[in-house]
Amino acid sequence: MVNKMMFVLLKQVVKKPFTNPFPVKHAPKNVTELIEKVQKGEVKINPPVPLPEEGFRGKIHYDPERCIGCQLCIKVCPADAMEWIPELRKIRHYVSRCMFCQLCVDICPGKKFPGEEKNVKALSMSNDFLLADYDKYSDNLIEEPPEAKEKGL
């Protein structure tokens, strides 16, 4: 039986795949080797999906120099991803708990350094979205002032 559906579905055979391709065409024998080769620049992998030009909500970037310690981000954070460090009067952000709602970025008053006209926020959304990790407390997934790590707070 020939009907409209067959034509539409058969047309897909000649079209190029709509989905994003895998990083490499075939599964590699050794993943670690492949990653090393990619880092050396010998092999090129297919990039992940493109992002919108502006306004993407990715991993939060924290600039402790700009933080005034007002704790407003802790007050609004729905996921309790922010932790107060009383010794330094700064915050620590756990990316593994974050739900990327941007409320902390909206509410952050920021600080201006001498010579600047406007306040610059301590928190900002980056375009980083590849956050897979084995450990939810790894360095990649915690944003904190560098002194906190040195002093072990």
């Binding site: 409209k4 539409v8 919108p52 993407f56 729905p78 409320l103 909206d106």
Partner: protein
């Protein structure tokens, strides 16, 4: 003589189910003679969590009630909260809210069409429809910053404005969906195989739909013209004459089966595209937040005493949120959620009775169930049928932990 009746339990965890629910059926051959639906396996206590937090935190918690339509619960939340607080969102914000809600209806309905194609065994159609869904998700990502959890709404407005580039993308999307939806009508409604598989399956009469309190597309497919956007208009819907889509308008007769549900949902995508087109043509200028500062907003909530009900027509039916602010803390003192799947799941038992085993996936899928929405309370009964209270449950949980620790030899 051989045994003629067999007992088939399905769920709560089963490869055929995407979310936990239990269906207990007795079958004679292929026919179902007795059926019982048990729910309450996905209760997460979100309302209680919301009552311990401030209103802005609870708003983003409400976005996580439903896994697919992430804006319908916040929409009911903001409408109800604004009524309780006595503030009103600026007109531009109201229009932007409507656009986002309709975009979501498009993506949710296309998702359902793919799911039902998968359930009747048409997987190539599933991939084709979901390919078409990518376009609306890309537009939502462009506008709000993420594909699924948009985080756009705020009590008294929206958080992001529509820019020129967004409006251009929306217009492009409207043209795309006019063609795509025409193709979908050809594929789903004119296809003899799809018609044979869904016509007469999951047939819900008008009386039965009223009896089980069906809402949303399920009720409209049964011929009831009910739609929150038409009955209690809010935001930009008050400016647009929205009429609930029922099969008698389109083909002149009502069966109330899975085929009619497909018909209603495909024509609702057309309606949503029309609403979005109206909204971007008549988008008012002005600010987007009634109270732009969150700290001021929270202190206003802390000072306010009041209650309100917010209702929104979600892709699956009506979502209702009840609020009470008691003037002592900056969050809701009482928060109650009514989700559409709770009413629609009522229709499973009468529809499954007398149906064939092979029709179970279609009956289950045609209401577009969302278990994580509908589980609002969980009770545990003991062997005599009495409800076990929370202190007893807690004591039993501690006892069990102790026992397991002892068995495993865990040292403190």
């Amino acid at each position: 003589m051989t045994k003629s009746q067999y007992y088939i339990p399905i769920g709560p965890i089963h490869p055929a189910l995407k979310e936990p629910i239990r269906v207990e059926a007795k079958v004679e051959g292929e026919k179902i003679v007795e059926v019982d639906v048990k729910r309450g396996f996905a209760h997460r206590g979100i309302e209680y969590m919301g009552m311990k937090r401030n209103a802005i935190q609870a708003l983003y918690l409400s976005e996580r009630i439903c896994g697919i339509c992430s804006i319908s619960h916040p929409y009911a939340f903001v409408v109800g909260s604004e009524k309780a607080l006595g503030i009103e969102a600026p007109p531009r914000a109201q229009y932007i809210r409507t656009i986002i809600a309709e975009l979501e209806r498009i993506h949710s309905h296309i998702l359902w069409l793919g799911v039902v194609a998968h359930e009747v065994g048409f997987d190539s159609l599933l991939f084709w429809t979901w390919k078409g869904r990518e376009k609306v998700l890309d537009v939502l990502e462009l506008i709000s910053g993420n594909r699924i959890n948009y985080s756009m709404y705020m009590i008294g407005g929206v958080r992001r404005d529509l820019k020129e580039s967004h409006i251009k993308a929306l217009k492009e999307m409207i043209d795309y969906y006019r063609i795509f939806n025409q193709e979908m009508k050809n594929l789903f409604l004119a296809d003899p195989v799809y018609k044979a598989r869904t016509r007469g399956v999951a047939q819900l009469s008008k009386e039965m739909a009223l009896k089980v309190n069906a809402v949303g597309p399920t009720a409209r497919a049964a011929g009831l013209r009910m739609d929150i956007r038409q009955d209690i208009p809010y935001d930009a819907y008050a400016d647009i004459e929205v009429r609930g889509i029922v099969p008698q308008d389109i083909v002149g007769e009502v069966y109330g089966d899975a085929y009619d549900a497909t018909l209603v949902r495909i024509y609702e995508i057309d309606q949503s595209v029309d609403i979005i087109e109206y909204c971007i043509d008549n988008l008012p200028e002005g600010k987007i937040m009634a109270i732009p500062n969150y700290v001021v907003l929270l202190s206003k909530i802390k000072r306010t005493k009041g209650e309100g009900i917010g209702a929104h027509e979600a892709p699956r039916g009506e979502v209702i949120h009840y609020f009470k602010y008691d003037g002592t803390r900056d969050g809701p003192a009482v928060w109650k959620v009514v989700a559409p799947s709770y009413n629609n799941i009522n229709s499973w038992a009468p529809l499954l009775l007398g149906a064939e085993v092979a029709d179970i996936p279609v009956v289950v899928a045609y209401i577009d169930p969302c278990m994580c929405c509908n589980d609002r309370i969980a009770v545990v009964r003991d062997s005599s049928g009495k409800i076990v209270d929370s202190t007893t449950l807690h004591r039993m949980a501690v006892e069990k932990t102790m026992r397991i620790k002892k068995e495993l030899g865990v040292k403190e």
